[in-house]
């Protein structure tokens, strides 16, 4: 327990595409920082390239993408591939927010974005604590590899 609490990590956060919905990710960022994770916050309207460059610069463990516009499916196409191309081999990728335009079965949404290369997918209303716990676990796994 002790060890886990001291465990640190670094993450890049932002809202992808033309999207300005900033509040959800702000809340997540704050929780991550409180948990001792170093956060590079890119804010709203961030492109895939900006995410990747920031991750390279900060040697990040994870990229946390937020999206509320309903255009996520289009906006994250081949994001994982580009990460790998840039040398971010086993970087942790999360996505959360209001991902699709119409209300759909959550399991299906999750499956879709996992296929698009994300390790974890979060619906609206996700508790920050959950995201923090997940990230801590995933970072410790990643580092043990």
């Amino acid at each position: 327990m002790e060890a886990e609490n001291r465990l640190q990590g670094t993450a890049v956060t932002g809202v992808i595409g033309e999207d300005v919905h900033i509040v959800g990710i702000r809340i997540i960022e704050r929780a991550l920082m409180d948990a001792g994770i170093k956060v590079t916050s890119l804010g709203a309207q961030v492109s895939q390239e900006e995410f990747i460059n920031a991750a390279l610069e900060t040697n990040a463990d994870a990229i946390l993408v937020s999206s509320f516009s309903g255009h996520a499916e289009i906006l994250v196409r081949s994001f994982r591939d580009k990460c790998i191309e840039a040398g971010l081999d086993n970087i942790i990728l999360y996505i959360g927010g209001s991902l699709l335009l119409s209300e759909e079965n959550w399991d299906q949404v999750e499956k879709k974005f996992k296929e698009l290369g994300f390790d974890r997918v979060y619906p609206p209303g996700t508790s920050p604590t959950r995201a923090v716990e997940d990230l801590k676990t995933d970072i410790s796994h990643r580092r043990r590899k």
């Binding site: 999207d19 300005v20 900033i22 709203a44 309207q45 516009s69 309903g70 335009l101 209300e103 209303g125």
Partner: protein
């Protein structure tokens, strides 16, 4: 360079050429023809006329955004809502690619939506649909269609909407600067907004009343005085360019005394500044929305939110009851979602219309005094900064945090101000950042917060802030 000064006709028409050439549909816009088109529409299809009618008949109209990817889908939506939702006003939300002037991407989305028969955009790609597309909408219904959106640069989109028969827009300076774009500069937004307002002024001067308006910024969780200051600045930009009809919007937070007072203060001070700065014959229409950070997921709580919104509208004497559909938290609402919500709002409005209810006058007086002092402190500082020019001053005020917003998408915001609820659900300054407030004001807010801490028996922290932001969404006021 920023200046609150009416664009000369020359400057305006020069810029206009450029604007209309941004996408091929710009060619469809013919200003003289468009003015004729408006004049031949039924009078109550004009937004300002309809607002005046509401004011005279003591009516409250529900309004909300609604947007589908194609004109056909949008017509289906509007007709359904007009009939089954008993709507008095209809909405039109452009998609977010259009808002960001990415007409190419919007075109792709439009084509894909047409091909698949499934909406692939979060609103209507107005520019791509062109003037003829908008006119088909306007002609398919009886109510005025209200474009509802924010954008850093709405010039082309508004050109097309106006030529298409729409007669209002919200060139809302701070909403668009802070909330609708991450990287744009204030100067750019001022320029685009002056253009749009000059265009509205042009229509107005040529006999077609155009209604502008502002709500300031998306102020969930932030005390009203800051929003009021930004509203007044936005509106002063609008009237300088020749706008004569204003929709003066207010964001309610749920404490009815505070909400009613903030609408009153907003209208009174606006009038005062208009007089002071020499603007005459401006018509104002109050409107209100219940400004939540997160709409409730639960349908029952959602209806309760619509109800509070309508009650606020009644108590402030609003013409516009600016609501969200009961599906807001989930996804783009279906036509049934919109119609159900409108029908409820309509019944609530009908039930409330003639009621003689009011907020506690004593409480309201204290609240109004304090709020007026706050707004004056900010605006006087802005005018001082700008040497009498409200926009010059605003630029400096943003830099120094005299105008501030903690939840701006734009990086250009000090982000120091924070709000918190008091024990009765009114929003108080938890942190006044660089706001130019007197000790009296700061103490007033501190005291209210201390009172809550005392009643709840625990001190306020970041958790409280978040839980306050989400309280209404979960069915509580505090």
């Amino acid at each position: 360079m920023i200046r609150n000064k009416k664009l000369s006709e020359e400057e305006f028409f020069k810029q206009r050429k450029e604007v209309l050439s941004q996408w091929h549909t710009g060619k469809e816009v013919d200003l003289d023809e468009a003015i004729e088109y408006h004049k031949n529409l039924p009078p109550l299809k004009n937004f300002a006329n309809k607002m005046r009618y509401a004011k005279e008949h003591n009516e409250i109209y529900a309004s909300t955004g609604m947007g589908k990817a194609t004109v056909e889908e949008q017509i289906e939506l509007l007709q359904y809502v007009e009939e089954h939702g008993k709507a008095d006003l209809l909405g039109l939300s452009p998609d977010s690619l259009t808002r960001q002037n990415d007409y190419k991407a919007a075109q792709q989305g439009l084509e894909e939506s047409m091909r698949t028969g499934k909406s692939k955009l979060n609103g209507l790609p107005v520019v791509n649909c062109g003037v003829s597309g908008i006119r088909r909408l306007v002609e398919s219904v009886n109510c005025p269609i209200q474009p509802r959106y924010g954008a850093a640069d709405a010039r082309l989109c508004d050109e097309i909407l106006f030529a298409g028969g729409c007669s209002n827009s919200s060139p809302d300076l701070f909403m668009d600067f802070w909330q609708h774009s991450a990287k744009v500069s204030l100067e750019t937004v001022v320029n685009t907004h002056q253009y749009v307002c000059r265009l509205m002024g042009y229509y107005t001067e040529h006999g077609v009343p155009m209604c502008a308006g502002a709500q300031g910024f998306y102020a969930a969780g932030i005390p009203p005085s800051l929003q009021t200051a930004t509203v007044i600045i936005s509106l002063l930009l609008q009237v300088e360019q020749g706008v004569k009809h204003l929709s003066v919007k207010c964001a309610g937070h749920g404490n009815l005394v505070q909400d009613v007072v903030s609408s009153k203060v907003r209208l009174n001070l606006l009038q005062e500044y208009l007089d002071k700065l020499g603007y005459r014959d401006i018509e104002m229409f109050p409107g209100i929305s219940f400004n939540l950070m997160q709409y409730p997921v639960d349908i029952g709580t959602n209806f309760a939110v619509v109800f509070m919104n309508t009650l606020m509208a009644k108590l402030i004497g609003a013409q516009q009851n600016d609501i969200r559909t009961v599906a807001e938290a989930k996804a783009i609402p279906t036509k049934e979602d919109v119609a159900d919500t409108f029908r409820t709002a309509k019944a609530m409005e009908n039930f409330l219309q003639k009621q003689k209810i009011e907020i506690d006058k004593k409480e309201a007086d204290i609240e109004a005094q304090m709020e007026e002092k706050e707004v004056r402190s900010i605006l006087d500082k802005v005018l001082e900064f700008g040497d009498g020019d409200v926009l010059v001053g605003a630029a400096k005020a943003v830099e120094t945090g005299v105008l501030d917003n903690p939840f701006a998408a734009n990086r250009a915001a000090a982000g120091k101000v924070l709000g918190i609820k008091d024990s009765e659900g009114a929003i108080r300054y938890y942190n006044t950042g660089n706001l130019p407030f007197s000790k009296e004001i700061i103490e007033y807010h501190k005291e209210k917060i201390a009172q809550r801490e005392k009643i709840q028996g625990k001190s306020i922290n970041y958790e409280t802030l978040i839980s306050d932001l989400l309280a209404v969404s979960n069915g509580y006021l505090v």
